[in-house]
Symmetry: C2
Subunit: 343 residues, 2 copies
């Protein structure tokens, strides 16, 4: 392994000079800098990460905690994770992968040992067990998701309440008066995962305000479950003319079942989803949907983290950032069938 000292010797300068060339923290004359750079190149020098972390007490690593549950839409998770890694790399940081399984202690471990300078948490519950560790100044952290009490925390998320409202608005605007919500899997609600409840809240508020009927049913993504939920909904509220789907894996089963039971989309029923754009575009009927901006979430999380790292008391050091939802109308939504209106 090539060390700083060897580079220094090779370039005929002192070790500290090489260090300053690398860090730019003190002025170095152009010729010297060139010479040092050349030596680094020739010897294939790579600074030792541990030594660096020790001397500077900055590891240039951030930890990312991903859930290991699989009842959420997994591709979104991976996309966020990849966006985090990519953004962090662009800033010279690496990303340590932590699984949710380890819980709060993992956060203490990686920050307490100086392994990671900061953490990003995904899949935050409304009342998350990892939050106590993060309150106060503890380790710098950004949550992707919104807990019940975000005071003193730094959060980024899609504004799911607004997303829910947007769906209802869109459908009500088209003339629908009875809307059914095919929700996330029951486990998501049982765990009080923030996004599911917030979407529901937004849906309900707006529905109430607009005088639109709203029926919500949790639903996991298997075909049979969707079939059961659909049957119940149609049984309880025959007048339902539109569906809002928040469970991405339920999208295709739902479309397929509607088709099979002779309901055309969007002529007979409208379907609106909250899902990644890719899913909406490739569905058997291109879906009118509020996009889940996975990449953007990952990127923003990292950017907030760096803002905090750079200026611990700066404006972005804490607080909640909710991304405004965007609804893209595609082919799955339209006015309700005429007979309904004239009934």
């Amino acid at each position: 392994m090539v060390t700083l000292a060897e580079v220094a010797r090779h370039a005929g300068v002192s070790a500290s000079t090489v260090s300053y060339v690398l860090s730019g923290k003190r002025p170095i004359s152009e010729p010297t800098r060139r010479r040092v750079r050349a030596s680094i190149e020739q010897l294939g020098y790579q600074p030792h990460a541990g030594a660096r972390a020790l001397a500077s007490s900055r590891s240039r690593i951030i930890a990312l905690m991903v859930p290991l549950r699989t009842d959420m839409y997994v591709p979104v998770m991976l996309e966020i994770a990849v966006a985090v890694a990519t953004t962090a790399r662009a800033r010279g940081y690496d990303v340590l992968l932590l699984t949710g399984e380890e819980g709060p202690s993992a956060l203490r471990r990686v920050t307490g040992s100086g392994l990671a300078e900061a953490v990003i948490l995904m899949d935050v519950q409304l009342d998350d067990g990892r939050l106590p560790v993060l309150r106060g100044a503890a380790p710098p952290a950004v949550l992707v998701g919104l807990p019940a009490d975000p005071a003193g925390l730094n959060c980024v998320d899609l504004d799911f309440a607004a997303a829910g409202a947007l769906c209802v608005e869109h459908l009500a605007g088209l003339g629908h008066r009875e809307i059914a919500v095919v929700g996330g899997s029951p486990g998501v609600y049982a765990r009080h995962t923030g996004f599911a409840e917030r979407t529901l809240g937004g849906l309900r508020d707006r529905a109430a305000r607009l005088g639109v009927g709203l029926l919500h049913r949790p639903c996991d993504g298997s075909h049979d479950a969707v079939a059961g939920v659909l049957a119940r909904i149609l049984d309880e509220r025959p007048a339902v003319s539109a569906f809002v789907v928040q469970n991405e894996t339920a999208v295709e089963p739902l479309l397929s079942l509607l088709r099979r039971t002779g309901r055309a989309v969007p002529e007979d029923v409208s379907v609106v989803a909250v899902c990644p754009e890719a899913v909406a575009e490739r569905a058997s009927v291109p879906l009118t949907a509020v996009a889940i901006p996975a990449q953007e979430l990952g990127r923003r999380a990292v950017e907030r983290l760096f803002a905090r790292l750079t200026d611990p008391d700066g404006p972005a050091a804490t607080g909640v950032e909710l991304l405004a939802p965007v609804l893209t109308a595609r082919e799955s939504s339209g006015p309700p069938p005429v007979r309904r209106r004239t009934d």
Copy 2:
């Protein structure tokens, strides 16, 4: 931050003693050990990762390189990644997340700087650009996937060729004489991703040996693409009575389309998939399928890596490990319709 020295002072021993208590590399008397442990507990001591890495030249970190492409089945990737992280943690190692984007240089960077002791690569292509870096002794590495020339490399993968053969065997055993393969997306073949080509090889070999007709068509997962491919297949080979699907996202569209065109599964056509068990179980028709053992792959990869780390010239230090495929018969496969036979 609490240091080793402070713990030592608190416990009334020397620093080295504390270190030996922690590492167990030299015998320490029971009373002393207890005292030290108590001090560690009381002070909340956590060894500094960087200092450790520097002094011992072992970072206790392995790097995991995930693809950032999304034309493969993403949940499998995440599942492997999580399995890697979990298994590594059980051995006291952490996992650094690298994206494929960075390419070979990232491998050099993280191993050359001592950040990671070893690497695991996912989504290996038949002729992968990252392989040259890994040949020889370079950084210890395990590939999940199988390149064209695995000489000198350490690989784990599902035996996709055998998986393909197994599918054909199963269908031929039921009496099918014409089989169509709905393959991965065209990009997968264009990139020469190993698993796709190997599956196809296995399918073809076995089909040829058993005298069964085989038609292969790449297909990306969108509904429209599946519809197009299905139409072509039925047009070109009307006698096809069974499908093998390797593209998980194409599964539901295919089932839905078969249904719509009045073909009952499995009465009229059989469908066999190569996909994760979860997908097979939750499909609208539970699928006869060869499971992709994502967790097992992740686990085995880490275990092989540790074997290599522990004993660099041991038996497991190199070579290929192919997991035997397992086909589980569910409800999507059965004998071909009788009229076909008597035609």
